[in-house]
């Protein structure tokens, strides 16, 4: 019955070689961490997580610049994080002496948020800069960390009670 099975043996042999090649190649090509968490390369998560950061975060800024924190506490800009205006400064936080933040143009920065626009929330302070200042630098009158213009008397009174606000 199995008189002429030589061709089948050859076929099995060829398949066996093919399978072995596949298994060996697969083991060599598929990265070790593939399948660690799912159908992807697990090591990719660590690679993505290890990228350097550009924005230091306001907690880092406040560790050194406590004078600005005290000043901001008095006004509405207390909620505005440092790097919203000053830009990404993780490099400055790493090496404060050699990397200095750029000088800012208050007219550009202030109008980004405060230029009047119908789509902005109604309660948000907005001005038409052309009518309001005519393009002069905002910090001529407003202190960006404490933008409300106050008379000398009321401003000192506020500073004294600043902690309670």
């Amino acid at each position: 019955m199995f008189k002429d099975i030589e061709h089948l043996v050859r076929l099995v042999f060829v398949f066996a070689i093919g399978l072995a090649t596949f298994v060996i190649l697969r083991a060599a090509v598929v990265p070790k961490s593939f399948g660690q968490y799912g159908h992807y390369r697990g090591a990719a998560i660590g690679e993505i997580a290890s990228r350097p950061v550009a924005f230091a975060g306001h907690d880092t800024c406040e560790a050194c610049h406590s004078d600005v924190v005290d000043q901001k506490k008095l006004g509405k800009h207390v909620v505005v994080p440092c790097e919203a205006c000053h830009g990404a400064l993780a490099k400055h936080a790493d090496d404060p002496s050699s990397v200095q933040p750029a000088k800012l143009d208050t007219f550009v920065l202030c109008s980004r948020c405060h230029e009047a626009n119908a789509a902005k929330p109604k309660g948000f302070p907005q001005v038409v800069t052309a009518d309001h200042s005519g393009g002069i630098a905002c910090d001529t009158c407003h202190q960006p960390h404490h933008p409300k213009i106050e008379t000398e008397k009321s401003s000192t009174a506020k500073i004294e009670t600043g902690e309670k606000r």
């Binding site: 390369r41 998560i45 997580a49 350097p52 950061v53 975060g57 994080p81 919203a84 980004r112 626009n117």
Partner: protein
């Protein structure tokens, strides 16, 4: 130092031991971070957004997003009268340079910041033929740049239009929820710079996160809930006209 046969016999096993650490690569940057303890999401408070574009600029700087492409962007909606199915939507340069002044003509106007929704059942990861994009155990949809073929299936699959092909690397790219920041205990770049707090990073597994109280007490919506993608970017005060 002369390499003698004796020295060579000592050096070879030492090199073999050291080689394991060479191939293992750099260790993970955040050793105290446990993926299983987090489930990341984001909260966007539309009535607080002023369309300043800080988030778009910060994202581009933090993640080196090429000019003209966006991982996050802001749309300005204008709904005239009752036609909430036909909103006028514009996003000049993704809102990166802010928005030109817009006269109040009686309609409804508001800004909607958008980004990857980090869906729990994301369509984009399901279509990837090589496993280059995936949902991490902490609920962030990421892309393995070295594995991506650039076949664009995921770009088509995302119902929110959040993905693009980076012209420099020719691989798919999108918001990574600043994974390199959140694993180090920082918030995302966009949330970090938002001057009004319209964007908040949220950890749904952290029971002390204010997100839980917020979701209980506010009318919160996700984009395209009918797609059942398990979107995790929650919008407060979102109008029905938002697509």
């Amino acid at each position: 130092m002369e390499i003698t046969r004796r020295r060579m016999l000592v050096l070879l096993p030492a090199a073999a031991v050291a080689w394991r650490f060479v191939v293992a690569g750099t260790p993970e940057a955040a050793p105290n971070y446990k993926m299983t303890e987090h489930w990341w999401a984001m909260l966007i408070d539309i009535p607080k957004c002023i369309g300043c574009g800080s988030c778009v600029r910060a994202c581009a700087e933090e993640n080196e997003v090429p000019e003209g492409y966006f991982r996050t962007w802001i749309e300005r909606y204008h709904v005239a009268g009752w036609k909430i199915e036909r909103p006028e939507v514009e996003s000049p340069n993704g809102g990166k340079d802010g928005f030109p002044p817009h006269a109040d003509d009686g309609g409804k106007n508001f800004f909607v910041p958008k980004l990857c929704n980090h869906c729990a059942d994301s369509p984009c990861t399901q279509v990837c033929p090589v496993g280059a994009t995936f949902v991490t155990p902490d609920g962030v949809v990421l892309i393995d740049k070295s594995y991506c073929l650039g076949c664009r299936y995921c770009v088509q699959a995302c119902p929110y239009g959040c993905r693009f092909i980076n012209p420099r690397t020719n691989t798919a790219e999108k918001c990574s929820l600043c994974y390199h920041r959140i694993t180090k205990g920082l918030t995302t770049a966009c949330c970090e710079v938002c001057p009004t707090g319209a964007r908040q990073l949220a950890d749904l597994k952290n029971t002390k996160d204010p997100i839980h109280e917020y979701l209980r007490t506010h009318t919160v919506q996700v984009l395209k809930p009918h797609m059942a993608t398990g979107a995790k970017v929650f919008y407060n005060g979102m109008d029905g006209s938002v697509r």
